[in-house]
């Protein structure tokens, strides 16, 4: 049992860290290029795709990170 948990936790922590770093990078870029990104995503018309794509990209990285985050804390769904 203990071995199973340890074996299961290893890659889980790695994935959490990987997605965490990715998510943090995205947020750091957003902070660094705040004005440019805001101006670009709010041009309107055919630039409407910009906020939608940004939202999808962020949700992919951050969604996976938050999922692994709770798993790593052993807050998991009842099976």
């Amino acid at each position: 049992m203990v071995n199973n948990i340890t074996a299961h936790k290893g890659p889980q922590v790695t994935r959490m860290l990987a997605y965490g770093v990715l998510s943090l990078s995205f947020y750091f870029l957003l902070y660094l290029f705040e004005d440019e990104i805001l101006a670009f995503s709010s041009r309107g018309r055919w630039f409407f795709a910009a906020p939608v794509i940004i939202a999808f990209v962020f949700s992919f990285a951050h969604g996976n990170f938050t999922s692994y985050f709770w798993d790593t804390l052993r807050i998991e769904a009842k099976k």
Partner: protein, 649 residues
């Protein structure tokens, strides 16, 4: 590059505020499928964000959040994607139409008119739907059907209507339903979303009460609807360049933590909890909007002008109640999640420890082959005080343990806290402990002679019933065996009150053995009221009757106040149980009698010369029990034979 005038500067406090509100909003959305977003628009506006940018940014965080939540809950098998998409597309049309109505009202009556329209929509929809949902949740919690959801009458009718060319199969409903029902429902969801920012307050109850999906499926499927609506809304606002991507992504950072946790929470709670959280939030939001209505009425000149202090006060109170609605919802979810996880971990820990709290070297492997936790009799906890009243308890516990191949743990509880015991004096305490020890040693010898695995312990506790229940939980007992009442006096008490409290609080079945009772397997009487508690009792009694080869009478007592429909349902339940027992190879017959349930059950037991009465338990305690009474307890007071109170899992 200059930031457009629509977008504000953000400082660290703003970011933390948005992260926190996003987290709580996400938590609620993950749990009830919706309802987390309504506070975000006013929260952003309170920071100075223009209304339209706040709405646009809220939308832009909503669709990726709903997507992540829907994927998470789909992993738990709770999402009906087809229903979500069908509802979502029609909701999109509803959003456009709702926004169009809003614009017209604003053009005709100004901001105050538009606000009044929104508030009235809030009060009407939330007042009717919210109070219904809350009442239903409370009814489910109280009723015997906790954990099971019935399809509403309206939904049964909707499912029965066949309109050729429009029928679509939905897995959450398990049947085909005409899209002519789902489209208006989706449309109404969208209209509400455009009006009060939370379409789910119509969407979730609609899918549940009108279409017949379970509340778990409805709340999860609503996330798909929210994704479609959120994406549509974002495209519309992004076309006009109104989305503040920074705000949206900061809220998303908090809300994705929340939505994952909310989704996990749904796997630990009973269905009524989802309705309860939704109902509480809806009613509190309704209160928030009702508080502010006089301000809009004054703005429109319908009532006199309000004092500026009163106006400001009403606006502030309204906003505080709005925040409180979300906070209360989140607190309920946290509490349910915390309790659920703790209980689940405890169960898992107990499951991996061989023999639970019982020492492995004292245990003979049980012979019981039953698989069901309902009918398993492998571990007994016996409470003995050494008095004449518990002599029957020990005797019958050993007899049953022999028959079932169970192991037993016998405890003697010394009641009182340290101060009370100290005042008794050392000599008296030693005497009591010694006496208890001698009694348990004698029981251990009896058990050894009977070939029953047994361990004993003297324990000290302030409340006897709590200690017995805790001990039973710790060893994962299948059955607690105790006397009906014990001797009062110094310490080793086992009062009738303690017995009643154990029945009310125990998580396993309780066998109460009066002093003279003997369970020799002459005849068992199963009392049923047709509820699932009775079914559980019947299954447990069936296992026991099979082991003992005992004939069984299934009795249902009708009172004159019961309707004909109730009687028919009760008859069906009794016949179902009887057939089940017969299939199990038990000799079973049914009996229907009129009168007071406790008296009639005892009468039947006496007439049949029964040695055991089996009753299902609702597990009520405290005020609820005082008000509703307990048939099991009243039967216990009337009969001299043993009573098995079976607790539903």
């Amino acid at each position: 590059m200059e930031i457009a005038s629509n977008f504000i500067d953000l400082n660290a406090l703003d970011v933390i505020y948005l992260l926190l509100v996003g987290f709580v909003g996400g938590l609620v959305s993950g749990f009830i499928g919706s309802g987390g977003a309504f506070v975000l628009t006013p929260a952003m506006m309170s920071m100075g964000v223009p209304g339209i940018v706040a709405v646009a940014s809220n939308m832009c965080h909503k669709f990726p959040k709903a997507l992540v939540g829907a994927i998470k809950r789909a992993k738990y098998g709770q999402v009906d994607v087809k229903l979500g998409l069908v509802m979502g597309v029609s909701a999109e049309a509803g959003v456009l139409y709702g926004a169009h109505i809003q614009e017209n009202i604003k053009r005709a009556f100004g901001d105050a008119g538009s606000n009044l329209y929104v508030s009235v929509a809030f009060v009407l929809v939330l007042g009717i739907v919210g109070s219904y949902v809350l009442r239903d949740a409370l009814r489910m919690r109280r009723s015997a059907h906790t954990g099971e959801e019935k399809v509403a009458r309206l939904a049964r009718w909707v499912q029965s209507v066949q309109i050729p060319g429009t029928m679509v199969y939905f897995k959450s409903l398990g049947t085909r339903v005409s899209v002519l029902f789902t489209i208006p429902l989706g449309f109404a969801t969208g209209m509400l979303a455009a009006t009060i920012a939370v379409g789910g307050f119509i969407g979730v109850p609609g899918m549940h009460y009108v279409l017949g999906a379970s509340s778990l499926m409805s709340s999860a499927t609503e996330l798909v609807v929210a994704f479609v609506m959120g994406l549509g809304g974002t495209l519309k606002f992004a076309w006009s360049g109104m989305v503040d991507i920074r705000l949206a992504m900061i809220i998303l950072a908090g809300s994705l933590f929340g939505i994952q946790l909310g989704a996990i929470g749904t796997t630990y709670v009973k269905p009524h909890m989802i309705k309860f959280v939704m109902g509480v939030i809806m009613v509190m939001v309704l209160l928030s909007r009702a508080i502010i209505i006089p301000v809009y009425l004054a703005d429109l000149g319908i009532i006199g002008k309000l004092n500026p202090y009163l106006e400001g006060g009403l606006k502030n109170v309204s906003f505080i109640v709005l925040i409180a609605a979300l906070a209360v919802g989140a607190a309920i979810i946290f509490s349910a999640l915390w309790r659920g996880i703790r209980l689940h971990r405890h169960e898992l820990e107990m499951a991996v420890v061989p023999g639970g709290a019982i020492q492995a070297n004292t245990v003979v492997l049980p012979a019981s082959p039953q698989l069901s936790p309902i009918g398993r009799y492998e571990r007994f906890l016996v409470a003995s005080d050494g008095s004449e009243y518990s002599a029957g308890t020990v005797r019958e516990a050993l007899r049953m343990a022999q028959k079932c191949g169970a192991r037993i743990r016998v405890i003697s509880v010394i009641a009182g806290d340290n101060t009370e015991l100290y005042t008794m004096g050392e000599q008296l305490i030693a005497q009591e402990l010694n006496s208890a020890r001698l009694n348990l040693d004698a029981i251990a010898r009896q058990a050894a002679a009977s070939g029953v695995a047994c361990e004993t312990e003297v324990v000290q506790a302030v409340h006897i019933h709590e200690e017995i229940v805790t001990q039973a939980d710790r060893m994962q007992a299948d059955l607690i065996i105790m006397g009906r009442r014990g001797r009062r006096g110094l310490t080793r008490v086992m009062l009738g009150d303690a017995t009643a409290r154990v029945i009310g609080n125990a998580h396993c079945s309780v066998l109460v053995v009066p002093r003279v009772a003997e369970i020799t397997g002459r005849h068992f009487v199963i009392a049923t009221d047709g509820s699932r508690f009775s079914d559980t009792a019947a299954a447990a009694a069936g296992s026991l009757a099979k082991l003992c080869g005992t004939p069984v009478t299934v009795v249902s007592v009708h009172s004159p106040s019961h309707s004909e429909q109730w009687r028919q349902e009760a008859r069906r339940a009794v016949n179902r149980i009887t057939s089940f027992l017969q299939q199990e190879g038990v000799s079973a017959e049914s009996q229907f009698v009129d009168g007071r349930s406790d008296e009639k059950i005892v009468e039947v037991a006496t007439a049949r010369n029964a040695d055991l009465i089996v009753i299902g338990s609702h597990g009520r305690t405290g005020l609820e029990r005082v008000l509703l009474g307990s048939v099991a307890e009243r039967v216990l007071n009337l009969t001299t034979c043993a009573v098995l109170v079976v607790r539903s899992p």
